[in-house]
């Protein structure tokens, strides 16, 4: 039996052309070589055979990936094609870039390797994202020029935004309008910030106020439903959560809110260090699972004690009892490990944004009920409609 997906967050370099104040990564100029990438891919496909997984998504992140050269990626594409043919695995690639280094020379790579799509980041108002030596507002101007050039070549750009205190002051309506009308995006993603390693002990442990963040999120959902939902605008993660409440589909929920986050995702840095995701690779060496260049097999690394801490995190969080009582356990599972650890120094506590997410879930649940009533799409589910792998064993 084969199935399932493995997601590799690959950091071929930690070099970056931006200088964002809230960045949690320890920068270095080291760039992985194509030969090293081949070693990694060989070991990853061997590991996939071991755990009977057929599909691999490689999320190319940094640092900033576009500080590398297109030739590097041409070579990477050849390596991936050969590996997919010889191993029989399905390998997909996703690109995350700040777009600052984007130019025409990247068009072929983005088209052939990344299906003419990429993800990027833009805050509004921008307080913290900067190109070295320039104020934040010039980052947004430069980003917009690059975005329009990419869009003119048919490249689809997804945007992640991190709200800050100025965002809350501005309000959800103006925030929504900036992304959908000023820039003209058909959707965007709203993440929440966490302190990372360089948190100033004199400041609050979380960069934003949870209550303000909750109010903003609920208002943004309302604005989205009022202005964009029926026109096909997608705001992530709300879209995925709403889809869950409407249909039961969990595939578009955030990675950190899946019970199998630690099983599906792992990250490898430019020097071969392996950990749970990019934040852990780049910032917390004490949580490295091992080094892929120093080990015969990725299986040993994935069976290491540090990785066991992550796979056991839901067990430890549940044993504290509070999450088990929550109605939204099935869409949260204690939340994101990096947010928990970077805020409290304890891996085995729930997500610090718990109260905000509960408010968001409740608002989206209510919205789903209203939508279902309006469209008349609800109906009882009969036994034959329970997905095959969710049916009682005896019914198979």
């Amino acid at each position: 039996m084969n199935g399932g997906r493995l997601s590799l967050i690959l950091l071929p370099t930690l070099r970056c052309n931006a200088d964002c104040e809230y960045c949690f990564e320890n920068k270095s100029s080291y760039v992985m070589s194509p030969d090293q990438f081949k070693i990694i891919l060989d070991k990853v496909t061997d590991y996939m055979n071991h755990v009977h997984v057929t599909d691999l998504t490689i999320y190319w992140q940094g640092g900033e990936v576009l500080t590398m050269e297109p030739d590097w990626f041409m070579r990477a594409m050849e390596i991936i094609d050969k590996s997919a043919q010889s191993s029989g695995k399905n390998i997909e690639n996703e690109l995350q870039t700040n777009l600052i280094g984007y130019g025409k020379k990247w068009n072929r790579i983005i088209k052939e390797m990344f299906n003419n799509e990429c993800g990027s980041s833009l805050d509004y108002p921008n307080l913290y994202r900067k190109v070295s030596g320039l104020p934040p507002d010039q980052f947004n101007e430069l980003w917009l020029r690059r975005y329009r050039e990419a869009a003119s070549h048919g490249i689809g750009v997804g945007v992640i935004s991190l709200p800050n205190s100025a965002t809350f002051k501005l309000g959800a309506r103006a925030f929504y309008s900036y992304y959908t009308e000023t820039i003209g995006l058909g959707g965007f993603q709203v993440n929440v910030p966490f302190p990372g390693i360089s948190v100033d002990p004199s400041k609050p442990r979380l960069p934003v106020d949870i209550e303000e963040c909750s109010i903003f999120a609920r208002e943004l959902i309302d604005v989205w439903m009022e202005q964009g939902y029926s026109r096909g605008v997608r705001i992530s993660p709300y879209w995925g959560m709403l889809d869950y409440f409407l249909t039961g589909n969990k595939s578009d929920l955030l990675c950190g809110m899946r019970h199998d986050c630690s099983r599906e995702f792992f990250s490898i840095g430019p020097d071969g260090n392996v950990s749970q995701c990019d934040c852990w690779v780049a910032s917390y060496p004490e949580f490295h699972f091992g080094n892929v260049f120093e080990c015969d097999s990725l299986v040993d690394i994935m069976n290491s004690r540090p990785r066991g801490l992550f796979s056991d995190r839901p067990v430890k969080v549940m044993e504290k009892g509070e999450c088990v009582e929550c109605e939204y356990l099935t869409v949260c599972h204690g939340g994101c490990a990096i947010r928990a650890y970077s805020t409290s120094g304890d891996l085995f506590v729930k997500d610090p944004y718990c109260e905000m997410y509960k408010a968001v879930f409740k608002r989206l649940q209510e919205t789903a009920v209203r939508l279902a009533r309006e469209t008349g799409s609800t109906r009882p589910c009969t036994t034959s409609e329970v997905p095959e792998n969710r049916r009682p064993v005896a019914a198979l």
Binding site: M1, G4, V315, V324, A368, G376, T383, R391
Partner: protein, 273 residues
């Protein structure tokens, strides 16, 4: 229906052609014995201890269903997370003893989308109260998506007006299920083997014939066709007043569901199911 034997992993030899549920406390033993049996004969694997390292189960290549047996609801509920990723490759069900606090197990199990089967025993009033709360969560909490037996199949049987008894729903139909004890003795299901007069039973008719002799209360019970004395074992003097409240709630929920369903069909233009 062909007989299905619940058999210890080290006693597979006597049941060469029957369907089997293979049970063991050791995940490695389950993985090893699977290669000795044709996959189509294995109804499911039953892991009796949740505190062992489950990693080796990921090496099971065949999509054979897995049943996890919870022994202690107070301490083992969180351990279910260790098995959650296995659901990508096989159906998983959790067998939960209805002891005080069992809801925690059901909540975690259903949160990771495992199916659940409750082993109800003969619950006292307090335990039935917890079952009622669980039933309410199962029926009305929109984030609850996995089936919880016997609630689920009984609800659907009432909804579709189809015959089904608790013995069948709970995998204890004497026409189908046999249990081979650790010392190799062939018995009926655990529950049925508690009454000596049932040692020769091999059909639901045998049970139906005996129910009136266990307790006269059953004869006039409105749930007799579904229960067939299920809750009268092993102590035939067990008073069903509390559990009947639970069964009534399931029946009423099915009636409401049927009413809503029929109404929705009428609004969609009179299509029939």
């Amino acid at each position: 229906m062909t007989a299905i034997y619940n058999v210890p992993a080290d006693r597979l030899d006597p049941v060469e052609d029957a369907g089997v549920v293979i049970r063991s406390h050791d995940p490695a033993e389950l993985v090893e014995c699977v290669v000795e049996v044709a996959p189509e004969r294995i109804v499911h694997l039953q892991l009796l201890s949740l505190d062992r390292e489950p990693r080796i189960l990921r090496e099971l290549a065949e999509p054979i269903p897995l049943e996890l047996v919870v022994e202690d609801v107070a301490t083992q509920y969180a351990l279910l997370y260790r098995y959650a990723d296995l659901l990508k490759t096989r159906p998983i069900r959790v067998r939960v003893p209805v002891q005080p606090g069992f809801m925690k197990v059901v909540k975690v199990a259903t949160a990771v989308e495992f199916a659940v089967i409750l082993e109800a025993g003969q619950p006292d009033r307090t335990t039935v109260e917890e079952m009622m709360t669980m039933l309410d969560t199962y029926l009305h909490q929109t984030t609850m998506a996995a089936p919880v037996e016997f609630f689920h199949s009984l609800l659907m049987a009432y909804f579709a007006d189809e015959p089904a008894t608790l013995w069948e729903i709970q995998d204890e139909d004497p026409a189908v299920w046999r249990y081979i004890t650790d010392d190799g003795t062939v018995a009926l299901s655990k529950r049925l083997s508690l009454l000596p007069e049932l040692s020769d039973a091999d059909s639901m008719d045998d049970i139906k014939a005996l129910v009136p002799t266990w307790n006269p209360e059953c004869v006039s019970c409105r749930f007799l066709t579904r229960c067939q004395g299920y809750f009268k074992l092993p102590d035939t003097s067990y008073q069903c007043r509390e559990i009947v409240r639970l069964l009534r709630l399931i029946q009423e929920a099915a009636r409401d569901l049927r009413k809503d369903y029929d109404a929705s069909l009428r609004t969609e233009g009179g299509r029939t199911p």
